[in-house]
Symmetry: C2
Subunit: 331 residues, 2 copies
């Protein structure tokens, strides 16, 4: 199958040496911490994710003429901020495992996890001030602010029936889109891209991150913990009204909706059997997937004016990979 | 009594209008948050502390030729970071009240308090990127990193009998000194001070913050909750080996020390009656106060070469005020 239509792999082989350099510099950061802190930071840094944000930063650099140390650095900074938010998210969600291993919160308690997230976060922002260009630093600062605000709005609006689809998108754009957009947009700025190109690459990241969050929200409903490697069904229990849930509320009959609303207002967990019994469940997930696939088409359009090279092809391939992930959520 | 020897008031009347502007700009920041987040941020911002860090930033500006918007701004940024750390500290310490009112953690749970601290922290760092000079931004970033690392080292080394006096000072310099030093040192930089003056004002803040932390550590042992307005005796329960406790361990007889060590190694709370029964308790607090008073003398020396004006007099007066606070901890 030609690379352009593959959906089962992330096209990271192209930038593997660059990603390995980022991985090494993340390990170097660990050594920058106090010896007393090192093992905790190391635990979080080694529970390696897919490093999709650094890969995006590097691929944007490659697309726009060449990958520099600055591209790797912004990738690393964004990844450190991402790791900090995961550590704090796991406290809030009371999640026991992530990527098949115990969360920092489960392992050492919420106190240490609060501080560990703070340490990673402040370290990342201090690294951002090492760029000579203050506008880069400013963009990192603003993205971090958005992520934090997105998280807090999401938490504050749990069990809130007035949450609209627009509100949902605003929340996930802030909490997930902003860091993807920082990786791609700031990387474009570091390549000296013109404002229009930077904007389109920022938008590509924002849409891709948003779609990825929709996938995550669908997965929380339909995934299996063994396959996914983290605690699932937390959204329902915690009253997070995600896109599939909003679809469900919209597609339900008036009687069904009243029942659902009652459970939400009583802050009763919206567990799966309850949902399956009340309303058109599968269609709600399907509709969320369709929305996300449309956004992936827009993502590909964002890349239209860029130089036609293998790095740009990889950015396109990522949208197909995420599209493939989304399809696995269909029954 | 001439102002120079007063110990019962903070000399903030001199900069009252400037402090009120900082207070107003803190309120403005609250409005910059999402409406869903505003009430939480507002609660924390309105549970007003003494605003000693903004006052220091303003007084340094005044000493070095005039207070500008930049001095007020760095004061506000440092205060926001300080508030963020308080919100997170209260989670870690499980503290129920601060400044006579319920903590964010006690009021809304640890999840929201984690996010609220993150939002304040990221907002402060984003504001720091608004300075045109990246070195200012860099100093704020580094101070934040130090604060977070100080907190985590402190938490990690609870119940750790190998903690030396040097380790203790390093911890409190990071967790409390760094933000005082940022307020005074960065303020000097914003006034265009030469490197030597900036260094001395940085050191003044570092020492003053360190002394203030020693006072806080003594107060946790000897204060009364009604008078102080926050949960006390948490250091002993949590195994934090503060300066008076380290003095106590040092002054104890070998038999007494063995008993104390046993309790610490078993992670049993070092409650007050136990301490009073085992070792020379009052002397340990006295010795900590003496150490802090010596540091205040050094603080005053740091100010020696500065222009002799009323703002400098106020910086001197602050050291006397803190000295007076320390003396209230003697029996």
């Amino acid at each position: 199958m030609p690379a352009a239509t593959q959906t089962d792999t992330l096209p990271f082989d192209l930038v593997r040496p660059e990603l390995e350099k980022v991985e090494a510099s993340i390990r170097d950061q660990v050594r920058a911490f106090d010896p007393a802190v090192e093992p905790y930071v190391s635990y979080v840094c080694n529970s390696a994710g897919k490093r999709i944000r650094p890969a995006l930063a590097i691929l944007v650099g490659g697309t726009l003429g060449g990958v520099s140390a600055d591209h790797r650095k912004i990738g690393m900074i964004v990844e450190l901020i991402h790791m900090a938010t995961l550590v704090h998210d796991d406290i809030i969600d009371g999640a026991a495992t992530r990527r098949m291993i115990p969360t920092a919160h489960a392992k050492w308690g919420s106190g240490l996890a609060v501080l560990l997230g703070d340490a990673l976060f402040s370290h990342a922002l201090a690294l951002a001030t090492e760029f000579d260009d203050i506008t880069i630093c400013r963009k990192v600062g603003n993205a971090s602010r958005e992520v934090c605000e997105g998280e807090i709005v999401q938490t504050q609006r749990r069990f809130d029936l007035t949450l609209s689809r627009k509100d949902y998108f605003r929340i996930i754009e802030m909490k997930t889109g902003a860091l993807f957009a920082a990786a791609t947009g700031i990387s474009a700025a570091l390549s000296g891209a013109d404002a229009g190109t930077e904007r389109r690459l920022h938008d590509y990241g924002m849409r891709l991150g948003t779609v990825y969050q929709i996938y995550d929200d669908c997965l929380d409903l339909v995934g299996t913990e063994d396959a996914v490697g983290k605690t699932l069904r937390t959204d329902l229990e915690k009253g997070k009204l995600t896109l599939p849930i909003l679809n469900l509320l919209e597609s339900a009959t008036s009687t069904q909706r009243t029942k659902l609303h009652q459970r939400i207002l009583n802050q009763e967990p919206l567990d799966l059997p309850v949902l399956l019994g009340i309303a058109e469940y599968e269609g709600a997930v399907e509709a969320a997937i369709d929305t996300a696939q449309d956004m992936l088409t827009e993502c590909r359009d964002d890349l239209a004016g860029l130089p036609d090279n293998e790095h740009r092809a990889a950015l396109l391939q990522i949208t197909r990979f995420v599209g493939g992930l989304l399809e696995t959520c269909r029954r």
